[in-house]
Amino acid sequence: MTVTDSSSGTDRSDAASVALGARVGAAQPGQRTLVGYLFMPVLLLAVLATLYFYGQSRTYSSGEQRRLNADVIQTETWEHIKLTVVSTVFVLLIAIPVGVLLTRSFARYITPPILAVFNIGQAMPSIGVVALLAIVFSIGFKYAVIALVVYTVIPVLRNTMVGLRQVDATVIEAARGMGMTKRAVLVRIELPLAVPIIMAGVRTALTINVGTATLGTFIGAGGLGGLIVAGFVQNKQFITVVGAILVASLALLIDYLAAIAEEQLRPRGI
């Protein structure tokens, strides 16, 4: 038995490489220039600096002061980052191995029902997942992470499976035909070639998690959602605006870092 799916792949890259000549490897598409690297951080710094100086020039009510001070903002930002990063790490730990298992030939009959189960998580609205978990279990950081994981495991799982399945079947056949073990084919051929697509899924998961982590505040997990909600509760729009800008900036920063990671991890030659 081979792991083939025939129809795919003869010469995918043929057309691209007929007109070679110069070394293509030196300047791969997707490699950034210095400006490309600096644009996003500079933009975010400018936004945050503007917000800071504007904030300095305002006078605050006591309610606002209790919220808009360095301590609260630092704590909530840190909680937010923790929620995002920890939940994403768990997503990777679950989605990538499961994605690998579900694409092995022995799993072809159990793959559809398992995917259906994972899909339930994403079909539910995230706030529903958060609320349900809080009611059924308890509140706190742990349950917020569980909710985030349930919600974002599917994009990474799907991309892992798509990434592994799009690997040219003839490349796998050649590898097996040369005597590489199944494990070696997975580790040295399939996973590296699936990295770009898996990483795209990870980026999606990170972005969703940064946004959804704002709901953490409802079940006592903290995060920048606290500022946003406090602004609504106290009817102080500025608190909400600060919270929202911080969440948006964090989301853009994390997406930027993930994009760089994606470029660096993409194997050369593809």
């Binding site: 038995m1 081979t2 792949g9 003869t10 010469d11 890259s13 043929d14 691209a16 490489s17 007929v18 070679l20 070394r23 293509v24 490897g25 040219d168 003839t170 490349v171 796998i172 056949e173 050649a174 590898a175 097996r176 035909g177 040369m178 005597g179 590489m180 073990t181 070696a184 051929i189 590296p192 070639l193 194997p267 050369r268 030659g269 593809i270």
Partner: protein, 407 residues
């Protein structure tokens, strides 16, 4: 260097024996391969050829057990390998497929090093082996080692595929339509190069194709397969062309069998003619003198390494003015190497619209001339030899080629 990596003295040739191989795929009533037995002699290219779906690829893939046989045995030099670890078995066999399947994220060097690394060779040995193999398939190691597959043309990738398959100097090579996805001109060149290579390396090769012309050109022996890999005829190309076992084989060879026979003789088998030549530095007057002294209508101009530069005739010389002889005349098209078949040679002549082809050696240095009469004579003599043979032989008994292997 150990004997296994030194291809020029590759002695450990191994024959392959297939013993009642049968394959039934799950959920199919018909057998894909029905009780096939054959012996592949060591150091030969045996072609499995047949219509689509006849089971030839399945048969080949059972030999390295990419497809596990349902029953039967595979013997490699007498050793039963039907039950050994398939991964270890495959590292002893080169494997080339039509789509090549180079690893796109590995450099050419790393692709070629795949099997030697698995076998635990040391770095220096692997590195020098990579250079040796790239040279062998006609690619400059300095230029190509660190490139990625997508930076190569289709023909270059195919060469790397062959180099990769030979990396650990396997005794056996399995090739599944290796030149199938390549344009006809490049394919022809790669076929010729591969035949030249095989003269040195003498591997036992199983080669699958659906193209009878390729089979005739490449094969020491051809097995023509019917449905379920039943052997219709297993013999040398000559015998199959001269003496097809049945209507199926005759149909499969198709019309123009006598033209196909031109694919059996090579330029080196026929006598080359001499031709008046002059070096590129010769003056116009001297070239005219050479031309006048010969009975030919043109002189072939060679450069300092005796490579053909151009044909020069009387007209060209008259209009030469003060140009050098290397700058006038007609381009030296229709150039062939000694391992080219007469069929290729004829093709080259017709394409170039010349009645002669220039024969050059591997360094492209001039060796002689083949003309259309030589080819004609060669067809004649083959026809006579065939008639003589048919007269000598009794009518071919139809029952002795039912898969019993070699006589």
């Amino acid at each position: 260097m150990s004997d296994r990596s030194d291809t020029t003295t590759a002695e450990p040739e191994i024959e392959i024996e297939l013993d009642n191989l049968t394959k039934r795929f799950a959920g199919q009533r018909e057998l894909a391969v029905d009780n096939l037995s054959m012996r592949i002699p060591k150091g030969e290219i045996v072609i499995l050829v047949g219509p689509s779906g006849c089971g030839k690829t399945t048969t080949m893939k059972m030999i390295n057990r990419i497809i596990e046989p349902s029953s039967g045995r595979i013997l490699l030099g007498g050793e039963d390998v039907t039950k050994v670890n398939p991964d270890h078995l495959r590292r002893r066999m080169g494997y080339v497929i039509q789509q090549i399947g180079l690893f796109p994220h590995h450099t050419i060097a790393s692709n070629i090093a795949t099997v030697p690394r698995m076998l635990g060779w040391d770095k220096h040995k692997i590195s020098s082996r990579i250079d040796e193999l790239l040279e062998m398939v006609g690619m400059d190691p300095g230029q190509y080692r660190d490139r990625y597959p997508k930076e190569l043309s289709g023909g270059q990738r195919q060469r790397v595929g062959v180099a990769r398959a030979m990396s650990a100097d396997p005794d056996v090579m399995l090739m599944d339509e290796p030149f199938g996805a390549i344009d006809p001109i490049t394919r022809d060149r790669l076929q010729n190069e591969f035949l030249r290579l095989q003269e040195q390396i003498k591997k036992t090769i199983i080669f699958v194709t659906h193209d009878i012309d390729e089979a005739i050109k490449m094969g020491d022996r051809i097995a023509i397969l019917k449905d379920q890999s039943k052997i219709a005829q297993f013999d040398t190309p000559e015998s199959i062309l001269v003496n097809p076992a049945d209507d199926f084989v005759a149909d499969f060879i198709g019309r123009g069998a006598s033209l196909k026979r031109l694919s059996l003789s090579r330029v080196r088998d026929v006598e080359l003619h001499e031709w008046p030549t002059a070096s590129a530095g010769t003056s116009v007057e001297d070239v005219r003198r050479i031309l006048d002294a010969s009975d030919k209508s043109a002189v072939l101009i060679l450069d300092d390494r005796r490579r053909p530069v151009c044909w020069v005739n009387n007209d060209h010389l008259r209009r030469a003015g003060d140009r050098a002889v290397s700058e006038i005349g007609l381009p030296p098209d229709a150039v062939v190497q000694p391992n080219a078949t007469l069929s290729d040679t004829l093709n080259e002549m017709i394409t170039a619209r010349y009645s002669t082809a220039i024969v050059v050696d591997a360094d492209r240095a001039y060796r002689g001339i083949v003309d259309i009469d030589t080819i004609n004579e060669s067809v004649q003599s083959m026809r006579e030899a065939e008639r003589g043979r048919l007269r000598a032989e009794a009518p071919h008994p139809a029952a002795d080629h039912d898969g019993a292997g070699l006589p």
